[in-house]
């Protein structure tokens, strides 16, 4: 990381950690990509300029408060109306400091918005109320809420919206970019190394804006390759007579196929693709861990768990719920 960060990060993290501790999975102080690193470096420089001005101005303020407090018997102050040289000095000084902020800013604007290098992996990110759809046109993969990226390779995220304005933000991987209907916006980044990075929608997008989470799995080339092959492979057929097979029946009976893509069975696009749901770590737009208990809670009452959810409460009885969950978990 740039030299500034080594100074700033411990300082800010200590202040924050003193109050709450924790690994801070969405901290902008822990950059994990070239994009996030460039911003962190720029911010650190501006931060120290701001500290300098802060110390000067607040120091002067405290000084005059102490030095010029009213004293008994002091004469009436001399009326001073102004001083041209001083006025010019304190007009030029901030202007000069701003040059030191503006030049690196312009550099960073152009470097972070540069065209992606040839061979960058292109991913189409589509924002929905309140979940994320990811499409890898070159790989033929479509998935939801958990974005898989290879480490150390340039990536272009092309952002668009299916409904209202959202904003894609995984702070450790870089700045946010709005997701706007009728527009295609772009994030170009290269993740440093493997890891799981949390993020969430940053533009208010309706009732469950707070519940529009996301996570990015940055993986080594081999792990990423394996994930892609897994996504492309057909899911194993359910064993006849098993709970999963009954769940598959329920999946059709309750009309789930009307909204969700599920392997070869359904191609619906309204909700997130569920074909390989069993291989994901979270459900419901990154809100809950992908386990039986949370699947039961979620399918049992989507609008109750996620206000405004388009997925209705289907009033699925417990017996069907268990088989549905068995089926979904078998779709790996």
């Amino acid at each position: 990381m740039p030299s500034h960060s080594r100074w700033l990060n411990p300082l800010l993290l200590c202040a924050a950690a003193a109050a709450c501790g924790g690994p801070f999975p969405q901290s902008t102080f822990r950059p994990a990509s070239d994009f996030a690193g460039a911003i962190d470096h720029l911010f650190t420089g501006i931060f120290w300029w701001a500290v300098l001005v802060f110390v000067v101005v607040e120091g002067l303020l405290l000084y005059v408060i102490v030095r010029y407090r009213q004293r008994e018997g002091a004469p009436t102050p001399k009326p001073v109306h102004g001083h041209t040289v001083l006025e010019i000095a304190w007009t030029l000084a901030p202007a000069l400091i701003l040059v030191f902020i503006a030049v690196p800013t312009m550099r960073a604007i152009f470097s972070t918005q540069a065209d992606p290098p040839a061979g960058a992996l292109r991913v189409e990110v589509v924002g929905h109320q309140w979940w994320w759809e990811y499409r890898y046109p070159a790989l033929g993969v479509v998935t939801a809420n958990e974005l898989h990226l290879p480490a150390g390779r340039p990536v272009t995220l092309e952002l668009s919206s299916a409904d209202v304005i959202h904003s894609f933000w995984a702070p450790r991987l870089g700045g946010k970019r709005d997701v706007i209907p009728g527009h295609v916006t772009r994030i170009v980044l290269r993740a440093d190394s493997a890891g799981t990075f949390l993020g969430q929608c940053a533009e208010f997008c309706g009732a469950s804006h707070a519940n529009m989470r996301l996570r990015v799995m940055v993986e080594s080339d081999s792990v990423f390759g394996a994930w892609v092959r897994g996504q492309l492979a057909a899911t194993a057929p359910v064993a006849r007579g098993s709970a999963a097979a009954q769940g598959q029946q329920a999946f059709m009976r309750y009309g789930c196929v009307g909204c969700h893509t599920m392997g070869a069975m359904s191609n619906a696009k309204l909700g997130p693709v569920l074909t390989h749901l069993g291989s994901r770590t979270t459900i419901a737009g990154g809100l809950f861990p992908n386990d039986s208990a949370h699947l039961a809670r979620w399918i049992g009452d989507p609008p109750g768990e996620k206000p405004g959810s388009i997925m209705p409460n289907m009033h699925v009885p417990a017996s069907d719920l268990a088989t549905l969950i068995a089926y979904l978990q078998s779709m790996r």
């Binding site: 801070f24 999975p25 102080f29 303020l61 010029y68 700045g175 208010f204 309706g206």
Partner: protein
């Protein structure tokens, strides 16, 4: 408006009718003050509910829907129903006194502005209880799309209820009030100055009022256009903001922020004006660099028009647009910094008296500086990509609008309360209030810098414990309640001052400007004899002082002042009726509203001017 002599007016000052028909700028100022302060309490209550919800992760105090209504109404209320009208109360009361006038240029238009503001505020807040009337099956239909109301979330498709309609129509009503006041005060300041009160002798507060009014009359038409387009999209099926037929939601963002950034200066410049009055008085020194302070205020007003896209850096306008708006935004820090250095130079070498008004003015300098510096960090677009729409920005603008505007307004309240009521607010309660608010606001807003940079977005009704920001949020909530306690102390102070406050006399502080030459509270006609001004600081200039007659020493002569009129109120009543038409989908309401307005204007126009 029947004319009346000052003496006869003084007698008839009691009873509800006299308040409903008043055209006295001082009474209208008081109406603005009490109404706006009530809405400051409402907006504050909304803020405390928000903070209660966020005190811990996975908060369950209010639902997602209610939370979204709370932050929408907190922002809308504070900007349009509390801070702007609080500054308006000072414009109304103080500007005529500071320029040596007997009233504003258009007293009945002034009354109209107030009534439209009150009705607009009530209309907007009626949404909290209007559900049953509109048969929507729940009590509250308060606006819930944010004070910035980004398209296309506000479209009929994604906001089908009447919530957004209340917001659109409420803001349109309030815009009428602001525009009328804007023209009124520009004419007042330009035309009603006392003899010798040249532009460069105007008190800085009056100067900043003038700049603010020019910003209002130029910025409000933009939001009006944006809102009318939205109203058409929602009501008549047009597609200005909808991509489905070639519209663009970004059009809204441009229009909103072309209004929205000047609006920031509409909120801050009056407070800067107040601070520029309070500091010299309690330092016993004239303002350092008066000309530079005035011109930098004017410059800020102009430059405020060229920075709107810095609210849109995350939109992806491209590197050229980002660079230009970064540069203009950084430049605005220069005139702002110049003001701060001139205030410090005013204090330098003075004899500082730490009255409550002075403490709030000093607090303004200290806190506004923090807000300004964090502002510079998001003038840099790449850095802003990590800051915008997070709690870091919430911290930034509350240092500007709370540490800045609200502190400046309280400085003004403590400074001018004795002039307005004739009694001094308690200084000891005032200092407790300042201490509570100073500690409270820093506890509330300083941790938000970290909360934001640690990854918590704005406008989320809940957050997970895994973010690691739970303790910081708890600290922030505790600070918010301390701040609220400080505000309650002020309410108590005002209440006990009615009977127990020390009598002020004409000039309890030794102020330099004209309002301190007349009795407190001022008589209905303000000045027995219109003073002739020969100095920027008339009361501090020996030769000038002798030339200004002290009001109380003269007997009230036969001075004609504007009498009352009911027609501004009648005309104003038609405006919300008109606004009910799109809500109730009823043409007859539109016709009724228009008829009331026409009747009011007709009677207003042909009202006998003199009896």
């Amino acid at each position: 408006m029947s004319g009346a002599t000052a003496a006869s007016q003084e007698k008839g000052r009691g009873g509800l009718a006299s308040w409903l028909t008043t055209t006295d700028h001082k009474r209208i100022g008081l109406l603005y003050f009490y109404t706006a302060f009530f809405f400051l309490l409402v907006g504050g209550f909304e803020a405390l509910l928000i903070r209660a919800q966020l005190a811990q992760p996975d908060g369950r105090i209010v639902s997602a829907e209610t939370y979204n209504q709370l932050f929408t109404m907190h922002g809308t209320t504070m900007v349009f129903l509390a801070l702007m009208p609080l500054t308006a109360s000072f414009f109304n009361y103080m500007v005529p006194l500071q320029i040596g006038a007997r009233d504003v240029a258009f007293p009945r238009l002034n009354a109209f502005s107030y009534w439209v503001f009150l009705l607009g505020a009530l209309f907007m807040n009626a949404s909290w209880f209007a559900g049953p009337l509109l048969h929507v099956g729940r009590l509250s239909v308060a606006p819930d799309a944010g004070w910035f109301g980004y398209a296309n979330l506000t479209s009929r498709q994604y906001s089908p209820g009447p919530n957004v309609d209340f917001w659109v129509l409420g803001l349109l009503i309030l815009g009428v009030s602001s525009l009328a006041a804007g023209f009124n005060f520009i004419v007042t300041i330009l035309n009603l100055r006392a003899p010798g009160m040249r532009m460069m002798r105007l008190p800085v507060f009056t100067w900043m009022t003038l700049v603010t009014m020019f910003l209002i009359i130029t910025a409000f038409p933009v939001i009006t256009v944006a809102l009318v387009l939205l109203l058409f999209d929602r009501t008549f099926g047009t597609h200005f903001y909808l991509t489905s037929a070639g519209g663009d939601p970004l059009l809204w963002q441009h229009l909103f922020w072309i209004f929205g950034h000047p609006e920031v200066y509409i909120l801050v410049l009056p407070a800067m004006g107040i601070v520029s009055e309070v500091l010299p008085t309690f330092a016993r020194k004239p303002l350092f660099g008066y000309t530079v302070v005035v011109y930098s205020g004017v410059l800020i007003g102009f430059m405020g028009w060229g920075v709107w896209s810095h609210h849109m850096f995350s939109v992806g306008l491209g590197p050229i647009a980002d660079s230009v708006f970064a540069a203009t935004t950084m430049l605005i820090a220069v005139p702002t910094g110049v003001k701060i250095f001139n205030w410090l130079a005013t204090l330098w070498g003075g004899q500082l008296r730490f009255t409550t008004a002075m403490l709030f003015a000093l607090g303004f300098i200290g806190m506004f500086t923090i807000g300004g510096l964090s502002g510079v960090t998001h003038a840099s677009p790449p850095a802003d990509l990590q800051q915008t729409d997070t709690y870091y920005v919430v911290a930034h603008f509350h240092y500007v609008l709370f540490g800045g505007t609200v502190f400046g307004l309280f400085a003004g309240m403590y400074y001018w309360w004795p002039k307005i009521t004739g009694r001094l607010l308690s200084e000891s309660i005032g200092k407790w209030q300042f201490a509570l608010m100073f500690v409270g606001m820093n506890l509330t807003f300083f941790p938000m810098h970290f909360i934001g940079l640690l990854g918590m977005p704005r406008r989320i009704y809940t957050y997970g414990p895994e973010l690691g920001v739970s303790s910081l949020n708890l600290v922030s909530t505790i600070g918010a309640f301390l701040t609220g306690l400080g505000i309650l102390l002020f309410v108590w102070n005002v209440w006990r001052t009615r009977t127990r406050g020390a009598v002020a006399g004409n000039d309890p502080w030794g102020g330099a400007t004209l309002e301190w030459t007349i009795p407190s509270p001022p008589p209905v006609h303000n000045f027995d004899v219109i003073p002739t001004v020969a100095s920027r600081i008339p009361r501090w200039t020996k030769t000038q002082l002798a030339a200004i007659p002290e009001g109380a020493e003269l007997s009230p002569p036969e001075i004609h002042v504007p009498g009352g009129s009911a027609w501004p109120l009648v005309t104003a009543l038609g405006v919300p009726v008109l606004a009910l038409a799109p809500l109730g989908h009823a043409l007859w309401l539109a016709l009724l509203g228009a008829a009331i307005i026409l009747l009011g204007i007709f009677r207003w126009a042909f009202e006998p001017f003199e009896v």
